[in-house]
Amino acid sequence: MSQNEKRSSSPAGKPHAGPGSRGRGGMHAHMFAEKPKDAKSTLKRLIRYLGSDKKLLLALMVIVLLVTLLTLAGPALQAKAIDAITIVTTGETPRLHVDFSALFRALVLLVSVYIFTALLTYFQGIWAAKLSQNTVRTMRSDLFSKICRLPLRYIDTHPHGDIMSRMTNDVENIANTVSQSLTSMISGLLTIIGTLVVMLLYSPLMTLVSLITIPLTLLLSRGMARFMKKYFVKQQALLGELNGQVEEMVTGYKTVVAYGYEKKAIAKFNAMSDDFRKNSILAQFFGTVISPLMNLISNLGFLLIAVVGGSLAIKGAITVGVIQAFLVYSRQFSRPINELANLYAQILTAIAGAERVFAVMDEPSEPATGTLVPSTVKGKIEFRNVFFSYDPGKPVLKGLNLSVQPGQKVAIVGATGAGKTTIVNLLTRFYDIDDGEILIDGTPIKEFDRSALRKNIAIVLQDTVLFSDTIGYNIRYGRLDADMAHFENAAKASNAHIFIERLPQGYKTQLSESGANLSGGQRQLLSIARTVLADPRILILDEATSSVDTRTELHIQEAMMKLMENRTSLIIAHRLSTIRNADKIVVVDDGVVAEEGNHEELLARKGRYYRLYQTQYEGIAT
């Protein structure tokens, strides 16, 4: 029976505060607060995702239609069965008589309808699940592909938590809405229409009586929803703050403890938590009040039907069976209306989520690449009058000129913020230049296929990025087809082998959260091993040696010297040793190359490099 089936869906109050809301600060605020900006086109796009498997969608539609029709037939057959009982024999004293053959006929029909309905309901459930899973899987994978191809500018300028929340919260929201709402929405609409038709067929007058309470239901649910929304918005915002506080304090726990901030953190958290409690009681309370009120209205409807139906039955206008049917229908009618009212909020949330997902998908990918695929580059690098700014109006590079010969080792030095890292970002086309030209082997890098370009360049970054996988896998990232011998060699060459061997599981050691179980130096060594394995023509070291201690660095230096042979190398380093070993030192200052030459030449010039050198090494260099 459909009314019992439907009762299991969540009551009006609390569909949005469930445990599903994972993740952290800020992003929760979107859930209720955000109204879709262009609901229509977003919905269209969402439907296109749904319709990618047209056969499945069609099959589901048909089955929902059938189930709804059968559900409607239930009460009618039940009424027939009851009517078989109520036939009153004309005689001295009217008494009930059961027309058993009619009863059996009705019951057999009823049983077969029920069995058939159950069977179809099963398939409806499975197909709806399949549809929703297919939809979100495609959506997730489209979104992921997009994330992989977003320009770094986007990733650098957007909070990672926000990008993550689109993949998790928003897509999850859509998945739930699709699997839960799609069928209930269709069957709800069909039920309303179907019930209305059947009721009209039975008795237009009784239909009118049944409908009297509907406007009341609508008015109430709309009013309540508006009232609740206010508190739900606040609840989500508070939840976001709460999560943010936990995450921040736990992430920075060492600092919290070192500065004795625990008590203050607790006090702040408690205040937030109390606030959240107060607000969520209110929000959910208004959600729960709605159901007794609805219950009251539906009972009023019930009573109206009984009174009017009763007097009609006395006049012989309708049978008692019809009254029974109407009693069932009136509930069947008001329930989907309540549900659709609830679904409306959920669908709005899902559309808002879809909008956020599509917003990322609509971001331009990394700009179109050239087509040139060099088999190997020689490694000549030229920057010609390069201008670049991260924020418009705040230029970082202001006409930088730089020329590196194949196989040359160039050290880039300069103060923090002088634009050293930017040079790396531009050469690898993480960012594209505003003006000027960057050439490799005399060809502007814009003409190269971007992947082919990057395959010829390997970088060791300031912050080591490791993946939560085995150590072996993390090294193999440099070259996927490398075998065990290859990456062991690479590890040996970068002196990572020794510490890896000492780990109980060796190369199969599983790294926790981005390698948190390794020391900074060890992480660095792994990332160097990865670079060694990649075997690039152009090598970029971005302050990579700064967290490796000096002794280990000595060994790394050897490996690096070997690696740098016959390779063009750009090194952003603080170490004098690295700088002095370079073929050329480039001093970057205020977005241009201020000085270049080798160590002795630059010292002799007594310019910027000399002063830099003095401030660091005075006291020793005597």
């Binding site: 019992n4 309901t121 899987r137 004795g260 009763g310 006395i314 009254i323 060890q522 006291g619």
Partner: protein
């Protein structure tokens, strides 16, 4: 689950009132089908409209009363469950804030955040649901059976046949589904972690041109998640039709039994209708109980995870001695240390040294030689395995922990900043600091220049985890935070690594000039950073192999010479 219930105790009156009012509501609910059947039997069939109206109004009145009871019950249960969740959340958070570092490390950040948010919400929801359905469902169940049997004992055969079947189906499905829920959660975590890695590691993915590879990796995780979810949903899709068949079988059976009873003249039509309603109610309440058990079993995992936090006793216990106002020195006496659960040679062995007020002691050593561990011991993040660390001659374990840490200002290797103003971040060091003092500290830390250059200066907001600042800027803000503490002991744990050469040397000069009486423990990688220290400790594989001034060490220590050589200072020294 049971252990968490004690957090409900302070709200026992709500927790008891809620079911009480619920009983009222359920009783009224139960009376409804009888009233309805009377309306049909005695009113509609007899043509007694005034009776219909009278009973109908009684019914409406009761429904209103029931609704009122229900509302009060809901308010009570919400109050109880939300307050319960609130207390639990607070307890868990303050427990986390009291844990020792090794413990938060083993939990990992991500898992602690989930435990404090998602898991608590899950348990809170179950408590709220339990308060509401724990009474309602069984009462509906028993009440339904009683009422149906009052109409006619003959219906008992229907329930006797169908109830065990429903129970069996429910148990079977639940038993199969609950492990699958865990599987889905694990797969979801995997998907999330791949996304996270690709967002934070975008540079590496792009640099190695691994977009397609990552897509494949994600595709696998995505498909896994999809299939696991589908499996659960397929199983659950089975539940609904199965329950429907049983419910409808009950309806058919009741009509049949009712038919015979009516024919025999023992029953009226209205009674059959009422019996149908009760049958629905009985079977439905059984389903509710089933759903409740499924939620409880799902929340059980959450409860266990919360309890793990609550039951973790902080390893480091505070002493009770107040910390003396005048600091006289810190001494390590034969300290041995290894990380808990770690095997093999200790991280630190036989460490002995002393730091006096105004002294600068530098610690130099290779990666993994135990430098940071040494700092962790001073701050009592960990306890030494043996040996003593003395503050004014007394073991630091005897002092009040907070007061002890209050005497130490430490710039950690990883500079953690918090969302908020720059000035507030510096004020972490000392809450009472004035803006002038903050500016002064920032000037010493070489941070004043860039802070003043920001549009809002010291009022500029730092984004979460300080992502709006560069590595060097973050380090300088955290140095200012340590300086403003005006503690007698200042520790730098390799915390100038992101500063360029010039800035670091200016910082060192400013420190010397302004903090003459402050003792400094300095961990650094560059010889240049440590050469002016009063004493340099050379740490190798957890042992102090030599100590002395730069001049002494350069003469006698091969290790120190090697370190200098690696930085190519030898030539300069000889010149």
């Amino acid at each position: 689950m049971k252990k968490l219930i004690k957090y409900l105790k302070p709200y026992w009156y709500f927790a008891i009132l809620s079911p009480l009012f619920m009983i009222g509501e359920v009783l009224i609910d139960l009376s409804q089908p009888t009233l309805m059947s009377r309306i049909v039997n005695e009113g509609v069939l007899q043509g007694n409209t005034p009776f219909v109206v009278r009973i109908g109004l009684t019914m409406l009145g009761l429904v209103a009363l029931g609704g009122l009871f229900g509302t009060i019950a809901a308010y009570c249960s919400l109050n109880a469950s939300q307050s319960f969740g609130n207390d639990l959340r607070k307890a868990a958070f303050s427990r986390v804030m009291s844990l020792s570092l090794e413990q938060t490390d083993t939990f990992t950040t991500g898992s602690l955040v989930t435990r404090l948010t998602n898991d608590i919400t899950a348990v809170e929801n179950v408590v709220s649901m339990m308060l509401r359905t724990f009474v309602r469902a069984p009462m509906n169940f028993i009440g339904g059976i009683v009422m149906a049997l009052t109409i006619s004992r003959k219906f008992s055969i229907v329930f006797l046949c169908l109830l065990p079947i429903e129970l069996l189906i429910m148990i079977l499905i639940l038993r199969k589904a609950s492990p699958l829920f865990n599987v889905v959660q694990t797969k979801l975590d995997k998907v999330n972690s791949v996304v996270q890695e690709n967002v934070t590691g975008a540079r590496v993915v792009k640099a190695y041109v691994r977009e397609e590879y990552e897509e494949k990796r994600f595709g696998e995780a995505n498909l896994d998640l999809s299939l696991a979810t589908l499996k659960v949903q397929k199983l659950l899709s089975l539940a609904m039709p199965a329950m429907m068949i049983i419910m409808n079988a009950a309806v058919v059976a009741i009509i049949l039994v009712g038919g015979y009873q009516i024919e025999a003249g023992n029953m009226q039509v209205g009674s059959v209708m009422a019996a149908i309603t009760y049958a629905m109610q009985i079977l439905f309440s059984l389903m509710m109980v089933g759903m409740m058990f499924s939620s409880i079993s799902r929340a059980k995992a959450s409860a266990i995870r919360i309890l793990e936090v609550l039951n973790t006793e902080p390893v480091i216990q505070s002493g009770n001695k107040p910390v003396p106002a005048q600091w006289e020195g810190l001494t390590f006496e034969n300290v041995v240390f290894s990380y808990p659960r770690a095997q093999g040679t200790p991280v630190l062995s036989n460490i002995s040294f002393a730091v006096k007020p105004g002294e600068t002691v530098a610690i130099l050593g290779a990666t993994g030689s135990g430098k940071t561990s040494l700092i962790n011991l001073i701050l009592r993040f960990y306890n030494p395995q043996s040996g003593r660390i003395l503050w004014n001659g007394r073991d630091i374990a005897e002092y009040d922990l907070e007061a002890l840490r209050g005497q130490i200002a430490c710039v950690l290797q990883k500079s953690e900043l918090f969302a908020g103003k720059v000035s507030d971040n510096i004020r972490w060091g000392r809450e009472t600091a004035t803006l002038e003092e903050i500016q002064q500290a920032a000037t010493i830390a070489q941070a004043d220049d860039f802070i003043s250059a920001m549009p809002d200066g010291y009022d500029a907001t730092i984004a979460e985890k300080g992502t709006s600042l560069s590595g060097g800027q973050k380090q300088r803000v955290s140095i200012a935070r340590a300086i403003i503490r005006q503690a007698p002991l200042l520790i730098f744990d390799d915390s100038t690594s992101a500063l360029d050469l010039g800035t670091e040397s200016r910082l060192q000069k400013a420190l010397k000039a302004h903090l003459k009486d402050t003792a400094v423990i300095l961990i650094a990688q560059r010889v240049a950073s440590v050469q002016n220290a009063d004493r340099i400790l050379l740490l190798e594989q957890g042992e102090i192999v030599d100590s002395g001034t730069h001049d002494e060490l350069i003469q006698r220590s091969a290790l120190y010479q090697e370190i200098c050589a690696s930085q190519q200072f030898q030539k300069e020294v000889r010149q």
